[in-house]
Symmetry: C2
Subunit: 463 residues, 2 copies
């Protein structure tokens, strides 16, 4: 039995690890496009910031760890074509030289995603050598570090204020750069409601980041001679005002799209947002071809089939694919889109659906805001948690929760309590039944999430 | 409709608040034995430590808050007797003078618990004026503070190393006292496995607390003239060795027993550990008499009827009793015994059953220990979490989790993820299906609790 996984990031490596775990006799090969298998791309901002002191520390596991787990790694190797009928993967080896036909019994495609290139004038013509960067891989990380170190620039423009944009704003600020963040949508972190996005924005601004929201970037160009920095970014606000910013580094982080060419050209169907369609067993429909991670559609417990690329999901999908490729019968249980991001001293998190998402999915949602202390206010160091609960009016079912608060306010694991509750289809009222822990320095007799749930129930009763 | 709640702590106040919430027209009276309604007795150690700067801050709500919620408070008033047939509660007012007959339609008994007095020679003869204290009420708190302030003693003996004992060891240490902790059982914090208790003990000792476990206190006595402090505590270790400690303050905190006299003399049945029997609607069986909190049995989701007094449970039971007294139909969903305690810089938590508890309850438990980082180790400030997972061998059902780690490692809310999983009867394998949040500074792609769950599954597979 030879299992081949394509992709050295979360999905491919998880599949390979799991395949070896359930079938220690299986031969497992992982085809990795670059030299950095199992690196934590979520950790890149903390390498740029200097908090991670060596890029090698970003590896979840070392090359030796991975080989010790029983997989063969083929680095700097590109998967060119899948011969589905022949059960052969066509590869190009390091340097783009040697062609090879690698037979497989079971294949797991984990080709991931690539950064979106928004239609900004000049973006196609400028690159890392000019100080204009995308960010999704270790090579792109090294290119950013070269720009920072070789030019010594003290100013950066970040186009996009999603998770990566925010983390990079913090990371570059930590290095001492002046950062300007430009976001097309009306508020930063558009994956949460603008009421919480505004709190995130206040964190950014409180730490010296200049934020322009509702601002569409039109052009990136080399600055005129005599300009303070070598790049100029031109944008237009929603009100029609022109914004021009000079910077030595421009980072464009406006999202990703699934990398599907290999699978689709082999005959795989595309689904939501053009991602590779898979069933819950991570089967593509092509015989003996699985796919997982940022390249595939996401089965969502409340939305059905969607596209929602996240590292956590890629790990889970990869593990399912690896188990099944090795003869197992596991199903991906479905995502809730649970996410958390730290922005300077605060954290913002969400799980499930926001109001408009729930409405689009056919629910009749009600969203209620509430604030509660992370622990008893009489004990020093308590912090307010801003919460938004979304539930279905008729059934009372908990559909989504959003939280914002201090990084030590256990925001991340509080959103996980909500995620676990939504996983089980609880009503918001039933959240009060959960036996959650309490000690004054770390909580309240009713936890903050239970107080928020009770506020939602009261609100509905008062309507 | 006149609803009377007896007890000014968690259960009584929760019942009164909820009764007013569901029936704003109800007249609600709360009979409070002392002058401190709705005080957080869990917060007392932090007032003793000095972290809570005024005892009034320990009130969950002020007198004015409670009256504004629509309840009448009868302070310093003792409930003497319930005339069940006549629907009358006989009271003695402030100073033990005025007798009164208070008619009610619905009664909620929340008489709470009282400290156990272990059979220690001398304990019955010595009291607060001698520096010997129990601790369960505000009056007892004030007595301790008087001993500390008037004698200026710099040494304390704490008999018992449960939650309160540990918190008081920290609180008295924070005031600069030298603390000796004596525990009869083989390890401190006997509500968790000794492997984690040993880690708690290391915290205590690392902060200067002298700990003697397996040590039975035999006598407390006034010290001889010329002794360094005015009290002497004599104990015997499991090995038969004599331990004598001098101290200016002795605190005996070895647990509580339910205060049931009022309800039992009115005809209520007793259940587990002599606590008042109630059904899940918190009905005692006596017409129109509910009971809740530390005085009643606990319906446990895995154990059935037991006795497990906790503030969180008292809040929930009180809320159910209040809702039903006001005409509702709510049921207490059951406890899992979820608890957390902070000990200096660390926290220990548990939910569900430990191995021996699960075995006694008829399961075939397997317990597996595991360690994982609270967040990606490449990001500064990560901490190891020591975990113990208990599951049923045959069904794979998650029965219990115990955690120990740094106070900023989100131990409290991680145990709550486990509590929510157990609430829903998940298998340990299914814990990996939960969509939990991740960002490198606050978690891992598989959360620590999922890594622990996977370790359990691997262990079982390897057997």
């Amino acid at each position: 039995m030879h299992i081949v996984a394509i992709g050295g990031s979360d999905a491919g490596i998880s599949a390979a690890l799991r395949a070896r775990e359930v079938d220690p006799g299986a031969e497992v090969t992982v085809v990795v496009a670059d030299a950095y298998p199992n690196f934590s791309i979520c950790g890149i901002p903390y390498y740029v910031s200097g908090e991670v002191t060596h890029w090698r520390n970003l590896a979840h596991r070392t090359y030796a760890d991975l080989e010790a787990a029983g997989m063969h790694l083929r680095l700097d190797t590109i998967a060119r074509k899948v011969d589905v009928a022949g059960h052969v993967l066509h590869l190009t080896g390091p340097g783009g030289v040697a062609e090879e036909a690698l037979p497989y019994d079971q294949l797991v495609v984990g080709t991931g995603a690539v950064p979106v290139r928004p239609p900004i004038s000049g973006l196609a013509d400028l690159g890392p050598a000019d100080g204009v960067h995308l960010l999704h891989s270790m090579d792109e990380t090294f290119a950013i570090m070269r720009t920072l170190e070789e030019t010594g620039t003290q100013s950066a423009v970040i186009v996009g204020a999603g998770y990566v944009g925010l983390e990079m704003a913090e990371g570059l600020s930590a290095r001492g750069l002046g950062v300007t963040q430009l976001e097309r949508l009306p508020e930063v972190l558009p994956t949460v409601d603008p009421e919480l996005g505004a709190l995130v924005r206040a964190q950014l601004e409180g730490h010296g980041v200049t934020v322009h929201t509702g601002t569409d970037v039109k052009a990136i160009a080399r600055a005129d001679a005599g300009a303070p920095e070598r790049l100029r970014v031109d944008a237009v606000t929603a009100g029609g005002e022109q914004v021009s910013v000079h910077a030595g580094l421009v980072l464009v982080v406006t999202g990703v799209r699934p990398e599907t060419d290999l699978a689709v050209s082999a005959g795989a169907e595309a689904g939501a947002r053009g991602a590779i369609w898979v069933d819950k067993a991570m089967r593509t429909g092509l015989p003996d071809v699985y796919a997982a991670g940022d390249c595939v559609i996401t089965h969502h417990r409340l939305l059905g089939e969607t596209y929602l690329p996240l590292g956590t999901t890629a790990h889970k999908q990869g593990r399912v694919a690896g188990e099944n490729a090795a003869g197992g019968h596991r199903q991906f249980a479905g995502s809730l889109g649970t996410q958390v991001v730290k922005v300077f001293d605060q954290a913002a998190a969400r799980t499930g659906l926001r109001d408009h998402e729930a409405r689009a999915a056919g629910f009749d949602p009600v969203t209620v805001a509430f604030q509660a202390d992370d622990h008893k206010a009489y004990y020093p160091g308590s912090h307010k948690i801003a919460m938004r609960f979304t539930g279905d009016r008729e059934t009372g079912r908990l559909l989504g929760v959003q939280l914002f608060g201090h990084k030590h306010a256990e925001i991340a694991k509080r959103i996980d309590i909500a995620a676990t509750a939504i996983h089980h289809g609880m009503t918001i009222d039933e959240v009060s039944d959960l036996d959650l822990s309490y000690t004054p320095p770390l909580g309240s007799p009713w936890d903050a999430v239970q107080m928020g749930a009770q506020a939602w129930v009261r609100h509905l009763g008062a309507q």
